[in-house]
């Protein structure tokens, strides 16, 4: 095989993966070296931007300062995380945040995944992530706070409510029945 840019034999066979498929180049040593040097200076290894960086950038571009300040105060009623904390840490506080921050998260999900709708596997028994189960998160958080305040009566009431909810959950889990 001859070099694609001169008549010498092609000793370098370069495969490029592009959006449009595989691009093949057959070059002699000299032209390969030239090509590689060009390609290297054209696209220096970019520092792989962290998710945190992408997150910060995303919200700087799409919101004005005022809007962002208002967004930041928004808190999840279940776990208490604020949108500001999420932006700082890059991790959500609880499953309910996907509901509580649905509006704010949608454009972010689209920019990460190019999509905002799941099409894959589903649990066989439908669990639902809000309602009773999310309520348990909130009650346990209140219990923790009550214990810290030494509000023992309140704590014991909360314990009863948690146990009751956990009980119904366990029964459902054991029977394995599908919920409507």
């Amino acid at each position: 095989m001859k070099c694609q840019q001169c008549s010498r034999p092609a000793t370098f066979h370069i495969t490029e993966l592009t959006d449009n498929g595989v691009l093949e180049l057959h070059l002699c040593q000299e032209h390969a070296a030239e090509y590689l040097v060009q390609a290297e200076s054209a696209s220096q290894p970019q520092p792989q931007s962290s998710f945190g960086g992408a997150l910060a950038q995303h919200f700087q571009i799409s919101q004005t300062g005022e809007e962002l300040a208002r967004l930041d105060e928004h808190a999840c009623p279940i776990c208490g995380i604020t949108f500001y904390e999420f932006r700082q840490q890059g991790r959500l506080g609880c499953p309910h945040d996907y509901v509580a921050f649905a509006e704010e998260l949608e454009p972010l999900l689209v920019s990460i995944h190019g999509d905002s709708r799941h099409v894959g596997k589903r649990p066989k028994k439908h669990t639902g992530s809000t309602g009773d189960r999310a309520m348990l998160i909130r009650l346990r958080r209140e219990l923790q706070a009550a214990v810290e305040r030494e509000a023992y009566e309140e704590a014991s009431e909360l314990r009863d409510r948690i146990r009751a909810l956990e009980g119904t959950k366990r029964e459902q889990g054991q029977s394995g029945e599908e919920r409507p």
Partner: protein, 353 residues
Amino acid sequence: MNLEELAGRCGEWLRGGGPESDIVISSRIRLARNLADYPFVRRCPDSDREQIEQLVHSAIVAAPSMEGASYFRVDELDTLDRQFLVERQLISRELSEGTGPRAVAVDSREQFGVMVNEEDHLRIQVMHSGLDLDEAWQHINQIDDELEERLCYAFHEELGYLTACPTNVGTGMRVSVMLHLPALVMVRQIDRLFRSLQKINLAVRGLYGEGSSAMGDFYQISNQITLGRSEHELLEQVRQVVPAIIEYERRSRDALVRDSQRELHDRISRAYGILSTAHTISSEETMHLLSSVRMGVNLGLIEDIEIPTINKLFIHTQPAHLQKLRGTLLESADRNIERAQYLQENLKKPDPN
């Protein structure tokens, strides 16, 4: 099974079998799952983490396909044992260095594992030798089904499995294939390959998740997107790109053999020579040289050494493994001496020329 037993052997994924196993080391899949009734791990007080650990532990014990799995409370292990599990790729650095109740379940062949209280409540993983994505998917899907029967997963009708980081939501799945690409590194094509892969939404990481200058020329190619595509589409996306990379590496090897045979032989012989005669050697140098030797064996330039032996040496010469194998704590300088000795014992044979 205890950690000492584990140290003496080798994971199934390192046995070096299967088609294209000179280049494809292993196929891995992980699923991120969370319980619906607890905050995500970072926001859990230790009391919650303890309850999650217990719930997941009972589910693992009851799941038929995980029968006989060993279970380790990572927070009760010392630093050396945690480091050992990281080197072994059974736990992540994040789980090793985390706080509070956390655990890992693993089978004796090291084909699957479940990390508890890492970034998500559950990180299920399956690792198979060679290019074996369909089997790996069936395996992990079964484990996931069995755990789901016993736990209450956080799932959203539109968004799928809910995860602490929005980058994992949806399928919660990362499919990855680990490749050994020494020739692409030698002909300086590896960065270009990375950039091409990034353009089609695939991520490239090293053996332990590090960036582009990977240890031992091992690279893991994996999907970045988790939402809006089915598990089968994600498997397909990774699978489709692998033959092109294998071909690319093979051509680079051919080109080296054809155009730079003397330099190639020299490099491989020197690497083998240093590894089999050194009296003290660092982990980095070992990985670097083993990579050349591995390619030399695959090209038939070195005989009498088996690929599984070399695969094993990559893992067994790392700091925590050496210390577990020798049964004693060693300072860095002493480790380098032990490592050289261990390599000599395992690479005994006459000069390759």
